[in-house]
């Protein structure tokens, strides 16, 4: 019996080891590549998505994660580290990290930045406007990227499936370039999509944007009979979004946000977003193309994932008595579901 069980054991060990060996052989058939990842504030969902992607497709990779801990100086140290021991690929998270590591396009020949290593950036809201690259489809730098924002035109188109607005209100901080660019983009789409925009700038008080003006500006938008207010990505408006939401909801105007956090906190009714995990996975796919398929980074388009996710806050919907259509809800992430009252 003992001999039989030892035979069985050796049989399973032999075949089990064979199987795992085969799996390893598949992985080792490709060259091991070194990826250097730089994060502004820790490895989060996009970072997890990137690593999961490479793990899932079983490509041999050694990932070194560096966290700047919101310290710009550390980014300089990372550039030095890369210069000394260059990896096969650099991956950056966020606009600031990308600009500090790779530099704007006009300074692309400067030694201050990483030049010799192909790069994939992710979670950069406006790579062209921020000066990182000259275009999304064709550009000359040895880098590509995975974007996290749903393009404004797509957001507007999808938003109309929920609220067929004729007048869209926007309040923004003109001091923030991103916000001004987005407003101009939306204005350019308005005649094509048959709606009007009513935009208001936050006035400055002592050289700083004045949050107390938000309620007044919402009043002006209400007088102009806007059907919907768009909350863009500008930092000031997002920091003061509660003021915007309170004023808008008091006048029965829904707020539509470019980011998910405003919907989760109940300050916006809905948003169309890409989850960071998926953005990280898309960056992983682009990395795989560069590292193992031999594509040049500049030949790979800079793009967001294809399918946006509809996020809606049902508590806010109930408050405004504006409910999403059934067609949108079936593929949505619903947050703030009100507790069901007993009958």
């Amino acid at each position: 019996m003992k001999r039989f069980s030892s035979f069985l054991l050796s049989f399973f060990v032999f075949f089990g080891a064979g199987a795992s060996l085969r799996a390893q052989e598949e992985d080792l058939s490709l060259p091991l590549k070194k990826v250097y990842m730089v994060f502004w504030n820790g490895c989060e969902e996009a970072c997890r998505g990137f690593q999961d992607y490479l793990k899932a497709v079983r490509l041999p990779v050694e990932v070194s994660v560096r966290d700047a801990g919101k310290d710009k100086e550390k980014l300089r140290e990372f550039v030095e580290e890369i210069r000394k021991t260059p990896p096969d690929l650099l991956v950056t998270w966020g606009t600031l990290t990308a600009l500090e590591m790779l530099g704007p396009e006009r300074e692309s020949l400067s030694d201050r930045y990483v030049r010799s290593v192909p790069a994939v950036f992710m979670v950069v809201s406006q790579p062209v406007e921020s000066g990182l690259v000259s275009g999304l489809v064709t550009q000359g730098r040895n880098m590509t990227g995975a974007l996290h924002l749903v393009p404004a035109a797509e957001q507007l188109q999808l938003a109309r499936q929920f609220i067929p607005f004729k007048r869209l209100g926007i309040i923004y901080n003109p001091e923030e370039t991103n916000a001004a660019v987005t407003v101009e983009q939306i204005k350019s789409y308005a005649p094509l999509m048959s709606f009007e925009t009513v935009d208001r700038r936050i006035p400055l008080k002592n050289g700083k944007p004045d949050p107390s003006a938000i309620a007044e500006l919402v009043d002006e938008l209400a007088e102009q009979k806007v059907d919907l207010i768009y909350l863009g990505t500008d930092a000031f408006m997002n920091a003061n979004r509660r003021l915007l939401a309170e004023a808008a909801f008091a006048r029965g105007i829904p707020v539509f946000s470019a980011s998910e956090s405003a919907v989760r906190s109940g300050d916006a009714l809905f948003a169309f977003v890409h989850r960071y995990y998926n953005v990280g996975q898309l960056a992983g796919q682009k990395a795989a193309k560069i590292l193992w398929e031999g594509l040049s980074a500049y030949d790979i388009p800079i793009e967001p994932p294809q399918r946006p996710l509809f996020v809606v806050n049902m508590e806010t919907a109930a408050k405004l008595n504006v409910y999403p259509p059934f067609s949108l809800l079936s593929g949505a992430d619903v947050v703030g579901i009100p507790e069901r009252s007993g009958e």
Binding site: A56, N278, Q281, L309, Y323, P325, L329, S330, I337
Partner: protein
């Protein structure tokens, strides 16, 4: 009439029999095609819904391998369709089953044919197996890459049994038709035979001759529609099972979606644009004549297609019942553990007959 010969009668009988077999054969083909389509579209609907469910989870930023309630979702599909023997999802990069209703499969590699067929298709693939069929569809992540594949294994016994029963019914009906023809032309031949006999010379009188011919013709005219109806009825009896199965699956899919909307806080009594969704389902499944969403008491809240013709009320009791020739599947819409209303799906059992004419 005067020149009728036996050979004419034989030829007429032959033509009649050929027409009978051609007619029942045409009907068989139409009903068989309908049965196959009911089967195919049912599986297609299940797979599309599975794909949509998993893709939504991927859009939410979940990894396919780490989905939490996937096994429960799959077992729901198995329960809803009695022909489904197993439902599973395999990982595309590794080809290993991630979750499934057959626990022995989980963790193991899928057959190469499944993997290859899933790799090359963007829609749905079907693969024949020893004891049934396998249909699958790729699950695509938010940037258009295949993450996995949903696979439904189903038995084809019920379809095959139905097909055999329809073939038997077709043969029976064609034989009965032929018998009617043989009888008609046989009696006609006898009539002409006897009228030459001196004992039956009265048959030479036009009145008798015409009356006899008229009676025979009337018999044929009455027997033919009865026989045609009987052909359709026998086919429809066989098709009933497939209709019930399909209506049940579609009702379950609608129920799940409406229940999810109600669970999400959408008031059941004011679902925005649910009717275009129901219309879309009816367009995809032309045999469905109506889809209703009713409240608990049966009051119609949303309607696609007309249900008026499907129901009749008893004049004395006022009780409403389903008319003959309609099938109705009903599933409860449940939110927060409470029944909010019902999904009612009505199918005209005679839809193939209507298509033929």
């Amino acid at each position: 009439m005067r020149y009728l010969r036996l050979s004419h009668a034989v030829l007429a009988v032959f033509l009649w029999c050929a027409a009978s077999f051609a007619f029942t054969g045409t009907c068989f083909v139409a009903y068989d095609e309908a049965a196959a389509e009911l089967h195919r579209s049912r599986v297609r609907e299940e797979l599309s819904e599975l794909r949509r469910t998993f893709q939504t989870e991927l859009d939410k930023g979940e990894s396919l391998a780490r989905l939490k309630n996937a096994a429960a979702v799959l077992s729901g599909y198995k329960t809803a369709d009695s022909d489904v023997s197993a439902v599973s999802v395999f990982d595309f990069p590794t080809g290993k089953t991630l979750f499934g209703t057959r626990s022995s499969r989980v963790g193991g590699s899928v057959p190469v044919e499944w993997y290859e067929k899933c790799r090359v298709t963007d829609d749905i693939f079907v693969h024949g197996e020893k004891d049934g069929k396998v249909a699958g569809t790729p699950i695509v992540n938010s940037f258009g890459e295949k993450s996995g594949c949903a696979v439904v294994e189903y038995k084809t016994d019920s379809y095959e049994t139905g097909r055999e029963a329809m073939m038997a019914a077709a043969f029976r009906s064609a034989s009965s038709f032929s018998a009617v023809g043989v009888l008609f032309f046989g009696l006609l031949a006898l009539l002409f035979f006897f009228k030459r006999q001196p004992r039956f010379s009265f048959l030479n009188r036009p009145l008798y001759r015409r009356s006899a011919f008229g009676i025979l013709l009337l018999f044929v005219l009455l027997a033919t529609p009865a026989a045609v109806t009987s052909v359709f009825s026998s086919f429809e009896a066989v098709l009933k099972g497939a209709i019930a199965n399909k209506a049940g699956v579609v009702a379950e899919i609608v129920r799940a979606r409406v229940s999810k909307a109600a669970e999400s806080g959408l008031p059941f009594k004011s679902l925005q644009s649910v009717e275009p969704y129901l219309d879309g389902i009816r367009r995809q499944h032309p045999e469905i004549s109506f889809i209703l969403l009713t409240d608990k008491s049966g009051r119609v809240l949303y309607e696609s297609g007309s249900a008026v013709q499907a129901f009749e009320s008893d004049a004395t009791t006022g009780k409403v019942s389903l008319r003959d020739g309609f099938y109705n599947a009903a599933e409860p819409v449940v939110a927060g553990g409470k029944t909010e209303g019902w999904v009612q799906i009505g199918v005209r059992e005679r839809f193939v007959r209507e298509k033929i004419f």
